[in-house]
Amino acid sequence: MSPTHYPFLSVIILWPIFGAIATALVSDIKLSKRLALGTAIIECILTLIALSLFNSIEGNTYQLVEHYAWIPRLNINYALGVDGISILFLPMTALITLSAIIASWNSVQQLHRQHFALLLVLAGVTIGVFTATDTMLFFLFWELSLPPFFFLLGLWGIGPKRRSAAMKYTLFMLFGGVPLLFAILLLAINHATTINGSLPDALCFDIIKLLETPLADPLQLIVFSLFLLGFSTKSPLVPFHTWLPTATMEGPTQVTALLIGLKLGLYGILRFALPLAPVAAVEYSWALGILGAITLIYAGLIASQQTNLRRLLAYASISHVGLVIIGIASLTPQGLQGALFQLVNFTLISSSLMLIAGFIQHRIGSTEVLHLGGVAGVMPRLTSFYFLFMLASIALPGTSGFPAELLVIFGALSAHHSLGITALAGAVLSAAYMLSFTRRAFLGPITRSAVSQLHDLRPREIGLLCVPAIMIIALGFAPTYLLNINQTAVDAWLTHLLEPTKVERNEIAQLINP
């Protein structure tokens, strides 16, 4: 299965953590910054090597697998692996961590070493979430991603209520963790009862085995709901989204860029919620679709009322989550590939827009529309980048947003017409709120003296934004490259989900017409 026996994924997870320790221990601030930067760059290269080692034709199987016993008594293993669904999240995580480090190069005022170290730890833990193939290990990484965010939001936040925001975030996430743990335990115990084993020995936390374990229908519904509840706080879906606007307003922009850029919750829904409870997932895909549609429209409408760029981006990203959910709920290959494409896309777009908001914030201390107005005249380069990312977020052809949205809408339309039309309405809404904010903040006459003295982007910042910008345009013109990576994985994912029900339907049909 794996082309090499070298524990490559562990290296990718542990490298930034070692880098973080080194960064935190070095006493010289300049050196520690450089160490952090170097670690992040090498991490990026490592994830790219992983991507190149990955064989997308066999994307339906886990590759680069590692398997060590961790708690043998309970059958918990340290098991890692990537497949066509998760592989793309690795380079994206490394890339936005690198962006966050470069973006905060000068904007952090205190505790520099700790800040950069925490960012690196976060990258390692997040990659752990994306690569874990043992549910317990997944849960461990999932919960481990909380402390870095808590400290990053609370200690380096820019709003007056940063501590409260960090607390709110942590409480929400802890709340989401409980149903996850329940669901994981339920699945493990179900496995034990299915194979008639004694309890501690026959527990199973291996996702590949769990996928093959049959689960009784009522239990499926419970597991599906628990997973959905757990992941929807992180994604976030309405009504569990209230932590995100608060966090984006109070947290430092490079951290909020990570917060809205790392799509952990949606990954969880894709990886666990649906495949582990296939019958319930297929049966209740409509409910999931409705949840997505509500999130899309609700957040879109609220976004149109926002007067602050950071808050607007928070709601826009919630709205995007709704669109991705609609794609997933369509249970069609196009919808699903579109959803995965959108995840990559929104990671690039939302985090880049948030970094741009950060550049503005760093310069005039606010992203409130009242303090802006006419920025285009003084900062043509920043405005150009802003326009590119904004147009990508409203899915204009030529940017990567278009093929992704086309696939989602096509998938949703072929599954349920109403969902497809809702997705289209969301597209109009997104154009309306993005453009009307752009109009008020970037265009029009300059009314503030602070704005007229703004300095345009510096080379470091341009270089930082160039990478996502080039990727967005390249993927807009040649989306096939990305789609090829997850094609087989998506097919296998769908077959797993839909086949049993097909068999059952055939059985029922046979019973009715023998």
């Binding site: 409260s164 154009a431 090829n484």
Partner: protein, 520 residues
């Protein structure tokens, strides 16, 4: 020979890219670089025009293969979208015509835009627009056409924003873009439906696939695409965006709203001829909307006193007639009408500035007295049949209100229901807040009127609502909130006590023993 077709949209695209990157890097700047920009832009569009004319001649001599396929753009499962071009009949004729008009406009702009601040920006956008339009007419499938369609729309937005310091221009540009976005719903819906029902969106395969569709399916797809066509060609009820779009500089108005972009709607309908032929209902819709627009535009055009808006209304009226011709089945007539109209309107728009220069001192000709006496008709004409206000009243304002209410709900209800951790210190926590307070900000009182009514009924309702809201806010929400808090504290204390109790060794041992007993 046919592979040259790729260069037709590509050359202006490269020109746009070169000018834009030169502008952003600071290499192209100010009056000195005007010659460079003008050369790049003119040269590229002239070459495109030459290529298009060559291909047209080849096609007329029956020596072209008619199409070119460059492979696939997007594949997902059974969905496969190609990049392909048509170098045949109407497509290449329109490409030749549009590139010719655009090359004239480009040349005209060199002098017209001389020493304008946004000179380079203008040429970058116009070149991008040329690329988009040429791709639109040459693309062999609906997705490619949509590509050009949207980029052209974006260029229109950017050129209405040409003087982006003026608030009116920014409002109009946003409005125009969002209106066009409504039409895009129709376009994407049409594409998706035809992909779902025929698994193909190539224009050349349309005649064969159209026969496989049922009448209702054909009607659905045709109506979706006509929504897109009506928006782009400024038909009723979307006409108002056209007069808003007149903010841009005159040469761009020529290219966008006089002859080139605005014809895209008719072109789209023409390409869908086999589908429309299958659906009498869709043809009927074309006739009705086209006829209404023609009458509307004529009526409104009668009272226009400035040259650009009268030209705009004349254009939308003529396009209405083209739709009527399509609806009646005179497809060739419609497309010849399109070409002839494009040429005439190009001349009309481009000569408008000199015309204005010539008639500068003449008094404005009064409106025809026969019309001005018909008071109701006159008012309707002046008000452009209240289409804009109607759209505001029916669509924009309700959505805004809904958004406002939802936003309130999110901030004041949902957020509180989901829970907000109480801040440890309930005082001012930043210097900025302190300064704001010194300036007179009431940070403690965040009063937000829940409703805003007008008229007696409205006032009564809003008064009643505010009482209810006050009641809810003071008694129910806060009451429960506080009680729940106290309750929670009590529970927490009890739980703490319980935990302390449980954690004492004897209870712990007891607990473990019980578990073990139960387990075995």
């Amino acid at each position: 020979m046919d592979s040259l077709v790729v260069l037709i949209p590509l050359l202006p695209f490269i020109a746009a890219f070169l000018i834009a990157s030169g502008l952003l890097s600071g290499y192209i700047e100010g009056e000195n670089s005007e010659a460079t920009t003008a050369t790049i832009a003119n040269w590229s569009i002239n070459m495109s025009c030459l290529l298009a004319l060559t291909l047209l001649v080849t096609d007329l001599m029956h020596k072209s293969t008619g199409s070119l396929n460059l492979g696939s753009w997007l594949t997902s499962d059974n969905l496969n979208i190609e990049i392909n071009f048509i170098t045949h009949s109407i497509n290449i004729i329109l490409a030749a015509l549009f590139s010719l008009i655009l090359s004239i406009v480009m040349r005209f702009s060199v002098n017209y835009m001389h020493r304008e601040i946004g000179f380079h920006r203008f040429f970058a956008i116009l070149s991008l627009f040329a690329a988009a339009m040429l791709f639109l007419v040459l693309s062999g499938n609906a997705i490619g056409t949509f590509f050009g369609w949207e980029i052209a729309g974006l260029c229109s937005y950017l050129l209405i924003l040409y003087v982006y310091q003026r608030p009116v221009a920014t409002v109009n540009a946003t409005r125009v873009f969002v209106t066009n976005r409504l039409g895009d719903i129709g376009f994407i819906l049409g594409i998706s439906l035809s992909l779902a029902w025929t698994s193909n969106a190539n224009w050349l395969d349309l005649p064969t696939y159209a026969t496989e569709l049922t009448t209702s399916e054909a009607t659905a797809i045709a109506l979706c695409f006509s929504l897109a066509a009506f928006t782009k060609s400024a038909q009723v009820p979307f006409t108002p965006w056209l007069s808003r779009a007149m903010e841009g500089p005159t040469p761009s108005s020529t290219a966008f709203y006089g002859s080139v972009m605005i014809s895209a709607g008719v072109y789209l309908v023409y390409m869908l001829e086999p589908l429309f032929e299958k659906s009498p209902f869709a043809m009927g819709v074309l006739i009705v909307i086209g006829a209404i627009t023609a009458i509307h535009s004529y009526w409104v055009g009668l009272t226009q006193t400035d040259i650009k808006s009268s030209l705009a209304y004349a254009t939308s009226g003529q396009l209405g007639l083209m739709f009527v011709e399509c609806g009646l089945g005179y497809w060739s007539l419609a497309i010849w009408h399109l070409c002839a109209h494009a040429i005439v309107r190009c001349y009309g728009f481009l000569s408008a500035p000199s015309l204005m220069h010539k008639v500068k001192d003449n008094p404005i000709k009064p409106i025809n007295p026969n019309i001005s006496q018909l008071q109701w008709a006159y008012t309707a004409s002046i008000q452009r049949f209240w289409l804009d206000q109607l759209a505001d009243w029916m669509l924009v304002r309700p959505i805004k209100r809904l958004a406002h209410d939802l936003s309130y709900f999110d901030d004041h209800v949902l957020d509180q229901l989901m829970g907000i951790p109480t801040p440890t210190i309930n005082t001012i926590s930043s210097l900025a807040e302190f300064e704001e307070k010194l300036l007179g900000a009431h940070l403690e009182q965040t009063k937000n009127p829940f409703t805003n009514g007008s008229g007696i009924a409205g006032k009564i309702t809003s008064g009643f609502a505010s009482v209810m809201h006050w009641f809810e806010d003071r008694f129910i929400l806060r009451g429960i909130g506080k009680d729940a808090l106290n309750m929670g504290r009590k529970l927490g204390r009890t739980a703490n006590k319980f935990e302390l109790l449980v954690l004492r060794p004897r209870y712990l041992v007891l607990f473990v023993l019980t578990t073990l007993l139960l387990a075995f």
